[in-house]
């Protein structure tokens, strides 16, 4: 028989105003096994904890029930308290009489009754609690960053700065990500390349950082502290160790008609290419979809002009295996495809462009050398309309329900830059709301309106009509003036919603990291653990977790690095002892548990058993306690009752249910 102490918390008036705490303590005092039952104003305070510790020592308690707030709030606190008094921390149970009672009920009598019932359930469970001890596993002191945009770069630099090795896996031939395509950055208008390329070079030169460019993660095994990752290095048909990045091959390649993805297809590149001048690593890559040599075996110009013999048409994909203690997801975002928004005529007119395309058109390294010209006839546009929220804040099922967050600010930036450089160009911005929270953001937007004379029109655009004379009629409602507008424009810029990169979903499956319905990675807690995935050892950096601008991305990237460093600084990791285990004698090897396990913690093996004096080989499940997160899905799925969860055993749950039903 356990000797149990019950401690009822008032939580100031949070609980005590709705629950008669004295009555609860008194009622629970008479439960079997309870030797002491007390109430106190703030059980989590130092004095409250002292009260528990003293009670444990004076009454030789073996189990403790605290009736207070949610275990999410203070379970860890009270576990430490009972441990300090010499008890195993898992001999503590919490009855949640705040979130589940006082905050949701008004009638004191009913609330008190419910609090007593929950207390009884906790007492019934403690009777069956057993001391649990967490196992330990070693930590591999190396991190993997998946994605080499500004988020991945910042996280990698910070981890390397702390002295740990870190590898970046980037699917493109160069690191840098979306930021390399931007012209200027808000709210200070510094040039994106000027602030990004030094960081890219730092990555390349840092001896703690290894860059796997043109590579993808193809398999992930293992668990926190000890991930086993296979990286696919895609064939780039160029020997990375020999190529000097001189670029001669990219000038001589006769295949000139390859859409240049760096400039979003606004101009062409060659079949062998270096994405842009500041690429890191500065190594040429052959695009196998367009290379004449790879397709028909007739060409070989790049091989002839290469002075170091770096071209290798026979190169194959290779695979690298590495071990990592932590994995950072930094897979970023992409603008959505606009094929469902043809009312804006994006597919019908070359002069309807996206904001990212505008960045390239305005960039000195872009297709027009930085002069803003209409794509159709290379003429200077005199009136430009910006359409906000294209695919964002949509509840019609075509687009995204969320706000893409960055568009209001970059549109203000575009509008301002255009008015600054081309004062004869009129700029209209059609918006639902202008959203500018952020340091110096609203001031920035006000400048666009007040100093630069950008015309902000509240109202959405219904349709963009390409006219026979090459102009674009923008049909919109001006909600503040209550009139319909038909505005003749030369260029229309669409602020396309952003969505997670399409590599995110398969990666999440590989990592068993959870995602929301929009394919953004879910953080462990929306407020208190924003850079960790609920899966131990997986961390989130940048827009893969939600739409973010650069300042916010860099903040999150550094926060993410701090969490990784905290993990890698440990030599061993203490596991969670509340993990599942299988009773091999009951297990019938059906695989039900394996199928539901979201963490890949369950494996099967053939084992020999002596049954009725005979040796029989049976297939049975076993749980890797280092990987198991204790979710309990397997215990529910198991048809033979072989799976059980430490700390939440089937018998403990049933005891709780019995205690509740007995009332």
């Amino acid at each position: 028989m356990q000797r149990i102490g019950v401690f009822v918390c008032h939580c100031g008036t949070n609980i005590a105003a709705t629950v008669d705490v004295k009555a609860v303590a008194e009622a629970l005092r008479h439960e079997p096994g309870v030797v002491v039952s007390e109430e106190y104003q703030y059980m989590c305070s130092e004095a409250g904890q002292e009260l528990i510790k003293n009670a444990i020592k004076e009454n030789a308690l073996t189990g403790v029930v605290v009736c207070s707030c949610s275990p999410r709030m203070h379970e860890a606190t009270f576990r430490k308290t009972v441990a300090a008094a010499g008890l195993n921390p898992y001999m503590l149970e919490i009855a949640n009489i705040r979130e589940q009672v006082s905050w949701i009920h008004k009638n004191i009598e009913e609330a008190t009754e419910k609090a007593i019932i929950l207390g009884r359930a906790a007492i019934a469970k403690v009777h069956l609690n057993a001391p649990l001890t967490a196992g330990e596993s070693p930590v591999v002191k190396r991190a993997l960053v998946i994605g080499g945009g500004i988020a991945g770069i910042q996280t990698a630099l910070d981890i390397a700065e702390a002295g740990f090795e870190v590898d970046i896996v980037e699917k493109n031939p160069t690191i840098g990500g979306k930021m390399t395509q931007l012209d200027k950055t808000f709210p200070t208008l510094d040039c994106a390349a000027c602030i990004l390329t030094p960081k890219m070079v730092d990555c390349a030169q840092n001896d703690k950082i290894k860059i796997y460019s043109y590579s993808e993660v193809s398999e992930v095994k293992g668990f926190v502290g000890n991930f086993d990752v296979t990286i696919k290095r895609k064939a780039r048909y160029v020997d990375e160790n020999k190529c000097t990045g001189c670029g001669l091959c990219t000038e001589k390649c006769p295949q000139k008609k390859v859409p240049n993805e760096f400039n979003l297809g606004l101009d062409n590149r060659r079949a062998i290419y270096i994405p842009f001048a500041q690429a890191v690593p500065k190594i040429a890559t052959i695009d196998a979809d367009y290379c004449t040599m790879l397709k028909s075996g007739k060409c070989g110009v790049c091989s002839k002009v290469c002075t170091v013999g770096a071209i290798d048409y026979k190169q194959q994909d290779t695979y690298v295996n590495e071990k990592y203690g932590a994995i950072v997801v930094a897979t970023g975002f992409n603008p959505i495809k606009l094929d469902k928004y043809d009312e804006f005529a994006y597919s019908q007119s070359a002069d309807v462009i996206t904001s990212l395309e505008l960045e390239r058109l305005m960039n000195a390294a872009g297709p027009n050398g930085g002069t803003l010209l209409r794509p159709s006839d290379k003429k200077h546009p005199h009136r430009i309309a910006f359409i906000q929220c294209v695919g964002s804040r949509c509840d019609d099922g075509k687009g995204k329900s969320y706000c893409s967050k960055i568009c209001c600010m970059y549109t203000a930036k575009h509008a301002m830059l255009i008015r600054e450089k081309y004062p004869d160009t009129e700029v209209y911005v059609f918006y639902i709301d202008v959203r500018t929270p952020g340091k110096n953001f609203d001031e920035f937007y006000r400048r666009a309106v007040e100093e630069y004379g950008v015309n902000y029109v509240k109202g959405m655009v219904g349709k963009v009509l390409p006219e026979p004379d090459g102009t674009l009629t923008v049909r919109a409602s001006d909600l503040l003036n209550g009139q319909q507008l038909n505005l003749s424009c030369d260029l229309v810029v669409l602020a396309a919603a952003i969505e997670p990169d399409n590599s995110a979903r398969p990666l999440a499956t590989m990592l068993t990291a959870s995602m929301d319905t929009n394919d953004f990675f879910t953080e462990a807690h929306p407020k208190l653990r924003p850079v960790e995935s609920p899966t131990a050892g997986i961390f989130l950096s940048g827009a893969c977790q939600g739409p973010k601008d650069i300042p916010e991305t860099v903040s999150q990237a550094s926060a993410c690095a701090a969490k990784v460093i905290g993990l890698l600084a440990k030599n061993t990791l203490k596991g969670n002892p509340c993990v599942a285990h299988s009773n091999e004698l009951l297990c019938n090897g059906c695989s039900s548990c394996e199928k539901v396990c979201p963490y890949g913690a369950i494996s099967y093996s053939d084992k020999e058993f002596r049954i009725n004096g005979k040796m029989v080989t049976r297939r049975v499940a076993s749980v890797n306690p280092a990987v198991c997160q204790g979710c309990g899905a397997c215990t529910v799925a198991c048809p033979s009752g072989a799976m059980d969860l430490n700390g939440f055993s089937n018998s403990q749950i049933m005891a709780e249910v019995d205690a509740i039903c007995k009332w």
């Binding site: 094929d339 928004y341 043809d342 009312e343 005529a345 597919s347 019908q348 349709k463 963009v464 009509l465 390409p466 006219e467 026979p468 004379d469 009629t473």
Partner: protein, 260 residues
């Protein structure tokens, strides 16, 4: 291939050419169009008020008759198609509407949803197939620039009509390619022509339709085609450069039908 055929009033009066050419084309393509025995006017416009059933009863009767024949209904006029298809949607998805209608009409067998409402264009695309149609063309419109005019009723509401993308449709353009013509892309092809406002204020519909034909003309169209008699009337009233024809008239020529 036997279908119940719902012509609608306009096809018996103003738009006889649409009715005649469509019947000839169907025959040439091996489809048997059996006109419903007791069809009544569809009402001309679908009534949006949810408790209104009287104006929808003629469509209900047409659907019941076709279902008793175990046939799908083929329509031509965009307005009739819109009304019939939306009433069919109400009958199958709105239990309250179906209950009231059945109480009133007292059919031998309530509508089960087996009969579908198919527009002649959908018949060409889904039953015949534009690739097969192309092979049957003997007088292709080679070199002719043809502008498709959809109007509003054929495509919207898109969830119910379920024919094509309402903002960027292509069924008529695919049809134009099948008969050997070159489709003209212009942004007004799914704008409203003004519709019934022509009865009340013709200058308003002319103004709307002028924009449509001017845009089609501006992009170099020789012919504008449509499926809707009212659209045809309004576009003709706008007096543009291109001639306005029913799509079935061009089809009949393309298929080499002599009577056409």
């Amino acid at each position: 291939m036997t279908y119940s055929y719902y012509p609608g009033c306009t096809l018996k009066t103003k738009a006889k050419e649409l009715d005649r050419s469509a019947r000839l084309c169907a025959e040439a393509l091996g489809a048997n169009l059996r006109e419903l025995d007791n069809w009544q006017c569809c009402g001309g416009a679908y009534t949006a008020s949810s408790d209104e059933i009287a104006t929808k009863l003629s469509s209900v009767r047409a659907l019941l008759e076709a279902e008793s024949r175990e046939e799908d209904i083929i329509t031509l006029c965009s307005a009739c198609h819109n009304v019939l298809k939306r009433v069919r949607n109400d009958l199958t998805n709105d239990a309250n509407f179906a209950f009231k209608v059945n109480n009133y009409v007292k059919p031998e067998k309530p509508f089960e949803g087996k009969t579908k409402v198919i527009h002649f264009l959908e018949f060409l695309r889904d039953e015949i197939g534009f690739d097969n149609l192309r092979e049957k063309v003997v007088n292709p419109f080679t070199g002719k620039k043809i502008a498709a005019y959809y109007g509003c009723l054929l495509l919207r509401p898109s969830g119910v009509m379920d024919m094509d993308d309402p903002e960027n449709p292509k069924i008529l353009e695919d049809f134009i390619r099948a008969i050997g013509g070159e489709p003209v892309m212009y942004p007004y092809r799914n704008e409203c022509c003004g519709g019934y406002v022509a009865l009340e204020d013709k200058s308003a519909t002319v103004k709307k339709s002028e924009k449509i034909v001017a845009s089609a003309d501006g992009f170099g169209a020789d012919i504008i085609i449509t499926a809707c008699p009212l659209c045809l009337y309004n576009l003709e009233s706008a007096k543009g450069e291109s001639e306005v024809k029913y799509f079935t008239e061009l089809l009949a020529v393309a298929l080499g039908i002599k009577e056409a």
